[in-house]
């Protein structure tokens, strides 16, 4: 990827961050939580895919990393669910 490409990615990331922060000032209503989470995931995936090159690298790296990531997400969400965390 070219330097320019990286800068474009960074700008997009910056823009999303700005949007995220704006939720703090503007009322997004019921979209608030989903939109924040989606923006978070987009940023995450962009950094991982482009800055960390996962998108272009050998698939094995993705397997190793995403196994850990999804395991963490699955296990901890389940654990929180047993605390009725998502019902409160």
């Amino acid at each position: 990827m070219s330097t320019r490409g990286y800068i474009v990615i960074a700008l997009i990331l910056a823009a999303i961050t700005a949007l995220e922060v704006s939720t703090y000032y503007v009322d997004f209503g019921p979209l608030f939580l989903p939109s924040l989470l989606i923006m978070m995931v987009i940023k995450f995936v962009m950094v991982v895919s482009y800055f960390m090159h996962l998108k272009f690298d050998n698939k094995l790296f993705s397997w190793l990393f995403y196994t850990g990531l999804f395991l963490a997400v699955g296990v901890y969400i389940t654990a929180l669910a047993t605390f009725q965390f998502f019902l409160r």
Binding site: L60, G74, A81, T82
Partner: protein
């Protein structure tokens, strides 16, 4: 210790000159010169050789086995009769906590790590692991952790909260001695060993296989060890979090498990068991791997359903992540969670069953040779199944609410741990001893060893099924005649039987120690291929040379070694010997590689690991000491990162010149 004595090279002396490879020091950063010795105590202290480290893991773990076993015997002596007086309540609580901690973290895990270290590189045809220095660092962390945990015995009392250390009972008020602090910090340090070991071995397996060794040609032991390393890779950080929270609460006043502040004690339980359940598979899978090596060798048949065994191993590893709350069926999770975890737990019996079935079918139609190793493996099949089936009765959550925290659970996990994990390890001792030391353990004594252990183990843990179903709870320093009942199920009788059984068991294990001692003195060398084995680790001298293989073999089959020795008769479909082990080795020697770069010894791993217990003790007694420890660590990291993994002129010149390198990297 006898087993770390490095024996002289085997009888089949390879063509290579026996002299130590020439390694000269390079000037590196640091106060000391780079260590070079390849014999003497320094060669052990600074070694990065996976085989030496494997033996060091093994010897240290064996020591802790005896410690943990003696603790167990004290427990049984106390419980032999009602109102036991051998230990008081406080000591008893420390005893079972440390018994479990020692057995799980300081015996089975490092013993398996020892086998993995020694044999995974050999089985995949590598010259060392991917990161030899990190490997050495791991061993020293394990040792340091074990020392820190046990130091508490001498500094005011050991940990006393049970091995799962439930909050808030493990908090500063309810467990006022420093035992729990030593426990958390010690486990934290030992955890580093497991984590670094996991990364190291996974990379080794992925990257350092001999040419032709595809993943589905790897020996099952290596496969299951790899699964274990993934379990550790993802489980260790969870216990790390739990331990940090507890340390922060006990040492720095954080409130994580302080109910008065609104904390929920179930948080600890979740964190512990999210780690803890994968952990039990960490304990058993290496033994499953060993058994999967031993059974085919002594049945003279390949493992039945190799891909099923491999995939079921991976499946166990995976499903094992979704069942942790079966340790919490009585904790008050609510019916939905309980139901989900109950059914998930049942599911795990399926892949485990696949293994049992395949082992039995491996024996089916074979030509069974009952060496001691084979006996232990067959013993495992039956005894583990008993433990696994009682596990299934726990998985039925409502009946578990009757069973949990009784001796019925204690029976379950000793059957899977002793009848499973330990029997597997013993099978491995007998099977691989000639490989590691060039001498055979005595088979006659081995047979006695086996039978005493089988009988002792059933006498000890069999009655615990009855005790538990009769309602005797765990972790009671005394039991009372008043609630013993009468007749066949009388608790007093079965407690006594269990205690006697533990002495039988002790005698059985003593026979093993005697066997080691006798073997160490014996001058008889083991034959090159004593068992008619099948996999690559047998395709080199016993014990293997520092660089493992003179030339890296090219692999064409699962069970490569066997297929070099035998060919199928196209008419009768029976196997015909076409080459002896000696011939195959001689062939490898003729093609020996030139320019073998072996990683050079280094003292940084030891220095780095030594910094950790200093920090730990500093946290407990005086922060300046902790800072000193931190400086030691920084110094060691700095020195380490400037040191090349292979000293400049350590090239080992072999007779021929088709170059092959170790493939070990920086690290």
């Amino acid at each position: 210790m006898a087993i770390i004595e490095r024996p002289a090279p085997g009888i089949i002396v390879p063509a290579l000159p026996a002299g130590a490879p020439a390694i000269t020091p390079t000037r590196t950063f640091g106060a000391l010169k780079r260590p070079v010795a390849s014999t003497g105590w320094k060669s052990w202290l600074f070694t990065v050789d996976h085989k030496k480290l494997g033996l060091m893991y093994g010897a240290t773990a064996m020591f802790f086995f005896i410690v943990g076993g003696l603790e167990a015997v004290l427990i049984r002596l106390q419980l032999a009769a009602p109102e036991g007086k051998v230990l008081n309540a406080d000591l008893y609580n420390q005893m079972f906590t440390m018994h479990a901690t020692t057995m799980v973290f300081l015996f089975v895990m490092p013993m398996a790590a020892g086998f993995a270290n020694y044999f995974v590189p050999l089985q995949i045809g590598a010259r060392d692991v991917a990161f030899p220095r990190i490997n050495a660092f791991g061993f020293w962390c394990f040792l340091a952790g074990g020392i820190v945990i046990n130091l508490a015995w001498f500094l005011g009392g050991a940990a006393d909260g049970g091995w799962f250390m439930y909050a808030p009972n493990s908090g500063p008020v309810f467990s006022p001695s420093k035992g729990v602090d030593f426990w958390t910090l010690g486990l934290q340090i030992a955890g580093i060993a497991s984590l670094t070991g996991a990364i190291n071995l996974i990379v080794t397996v992925l990257n350092m296989r001999a040419p032709g060794m595809s993943l589905m040609k790897m020996p099952v032991f290596t496969w299951l060890i790899t699964v274990v390393q993934f379990l550790l890779l993802f489980a260790i950080p969870v216990i790390t979090v739990a331990l940090f929270l507890l340390t922060f609460q006990r040492s720095f006043g954080a409130q994580f498990f302080d109910v008065a502040a609104g904390a929920d004690p179930l948080l600890w339980q979740h964190l512990f068991w999210i780690f803890g359940h994968p952990e039990v598979y960490v304990l058993i899978l290496p033994s499953f791997g060993i058994v999967s090596e031993v059974l085919p060798v002594f049945s003279r048949k390949p493992l039945f359903g190799y891909p099923f065994v491999v995939f079921s191993g991976a499946a166990i590893g995976f499903v094992g992540w979704g069942v942790w709350a079966h340790h919490m069926f009585a904790s008050g999770l609510g019916p939905v969670s309980v139901a989900v975890f109950s059914v998930a737990t049942m599911a795990i019996a399926v892949p485990t069953g696949v293994k049992i079935i395949n082992w039995t079918l491996t024996m089916w139609g074979g030509k069974l040779v009952f060496s001691t190793a084979m006996k232990f493996s067959v013993g495992l099949i039956v005894l583990f199944t008993i433990g696994g089936l009682s596990g299934v009765t726990h998985s039925v959550a409502p009946s578990d609410t009757q069973q949990t925290d009784t001796y019925y659970i204690v029976a379950h996990f000793h059957y899977v741990l002793f009848g499973g994990a330990i029997f597997g390890l013993f099978s491995g001792f007998y099977y691989w001893w000639p490989k590691m030391f060039g001498k055979m353990l005595n088979e006659r004594l081995g047979s006695w060893n086996f039978w005493f252990m089988v009988i002792g183990m059933n006498l000890t843990f069999g009655p615990m099924h009855i005790l538990g179903l009769q309602g005797q709870p765990r972790r009671m320093y005394q039991w009372t005649e008043a609630r013993a009942g009468e007749g066949f199920f009388n608790i007093a009788f079965w407690n006594l039987v269990a205690s006697i059984g533990s002495l039988v068991l002790t005698f059985g294990i003593l026979l093993f120690l005697i066997n080691i001692a006798i073997t160490a003195r014996s001058k008889v060398r083991a034959p090159l291929d004593p068992w008619n084995a099948r996999s690559l680790e047998w395709m080199t001298s016993s014990p293997p040379k520092e660089h493992n293989f003179d030339s890296i073999p090219h692999v064409h089959h699962l069970d490569e070694f066997f297929h070099r020795k035998y060919e199928e008769d196209p008419v009768t479909h029976t196997m015909r010997e076409v080459a002896t082990a000696e011939q195959i080795l001689a062939e490898l020697e003729r093609n020996a590689d030139a320019h073998i770069h072996m990683p050079s010894p280094s003292y940084w791993p030891l220095v780095l690991a030594a910094g950790l217990p200093i920090v730990a003790l500093g946290i407990l007694y005086s922060i300046p000491v902790a800072i000193v420890g931190g400086l030691v660590i920084l110094y060691a990291i700095y020195g380490w990162s400037l040191e090349p993994s292979v000293a400049a002129d350590s090239d080992y010149e072999g007779p021929s010149s088709n170059g092959h390198e170790v493939g070990a990297t920086h690290g």
